[in-house]
Symmetry: C2
Subunit: 160 residues, 2 copies
DNA sequence: AAATGTGTACAGTTTAAACTGTACGTAAAT
DNA sequence: ATTTACGTACAGTTTAAACTGTACACATTT
């Protein structure tokens, strides 16, 4: 009976925690899986995950792969166990923030470059002359984003 | 012919700029509409938007409403014009960053509270005792997020 | 008061993402 | 060498989001 209640409570925890994880651009499936794995705090098989979350094994396999690529979980080797085991990485804040900030800096930089290329086009072809100013403002916007997050990163890494 | 080329270039600009806007949690429709409006830099009717983006007027109406609620665009009144007019707000960086940071702080706070409530439940019912530690770590994670973004906000508002 | 123009609620459709079950390749166990 | 167990590619299905067209309410113009 306690066991029963416990299951419900754990499920609530997973749902609540995963909301935050979704803000770091995990999809719902990935977020719930990571939440479950982090709270379980031990190596888990695909079958464990599948049973606990009520999703297919294929789905777990897919999400586990994504989470591994994001370095949020890691494969674990255990002698005598045939099934693949995965465990959530610790240092929640460090890993999530780092990954997140990097994503912003990279994306913003790449989009800024795209816009600068367009700016040159406009200039050369003498098209849309009235739009050059506005475009420059948008590029400046990207510069500020980059700078802001780069600054965040520095601060973050000096903290921990 | 220049006009023709110009249209393509403007379209490229919209697509590139809107990628960045999507990172601020606008959906594609909202992002493209805002990009178009910002680059146009003048009051626009729903018909203008509809024609420029090749989407239905209903769709424009919906997106324009969302953008207004987000305070990213504003209704504009112009004597003698029956149609509703909207114009993109300036100060890109300030508005986007502020809104974005606030969203994080609020969401993180709310989710932290949810988790604290669950923690009390576990304690009272003496269920899942082995999970209390892990839950505490997750709550700590939320504290750090809150603190981090609150700090960012302060820094940001002191800048501009 | 009637007629026209405008924005949006709503139902239905299209489109894309998430998920599942089957089938198969690979590796371990017999 | 054969059998069994496991993970995942792939095709098909379910689910949810985005979009459209019609209809209507409200306001402005005749």
């Amino acid at each position: 009976m306690f066991e029963h209640t416990g299951e419900y409570i754990k499920n609530d925890m997973i749902i609540e925690f995963s909301k935050t994880l979704e803000m770091f651009d995990l999809n719902q499936s990935e977020a719930r899986l990571f939440a479950f794995m982090y709270l379980s705090n031990k190596p888990l098989t695909l079958d464990d995950m599948s049973e606990a979350l009520g999703k297919s094994k294929t789905s777990m396999s897919t999400s586990a792969r994504s989470l591994t690529e994001l370095k949020l979980i890691s494969p674990v080797w255990k002698k005598g166990v045939r099934k693949d085991l995965y465990q959530a990485n610790p240092q929640l804040f460090k890993i999530f923030m780092m990954t997140y900030i990097d994503k912003w800096v990279d994306a913003s930089k790449s989009q800024k470059e795209g816009l600068e290329k367009i700016k040159r086009q406009i200039h050369e072809q003498e098209a849309l002359p009235n739009m050059e100013d506005r475009l420059e403002e948008v590029i400046e916007f990207h510069r500020q984003i980059e700078q802001f997050f780069a600054c965040m990163k520095q601060e973050h890494s000096s903290l921990k």
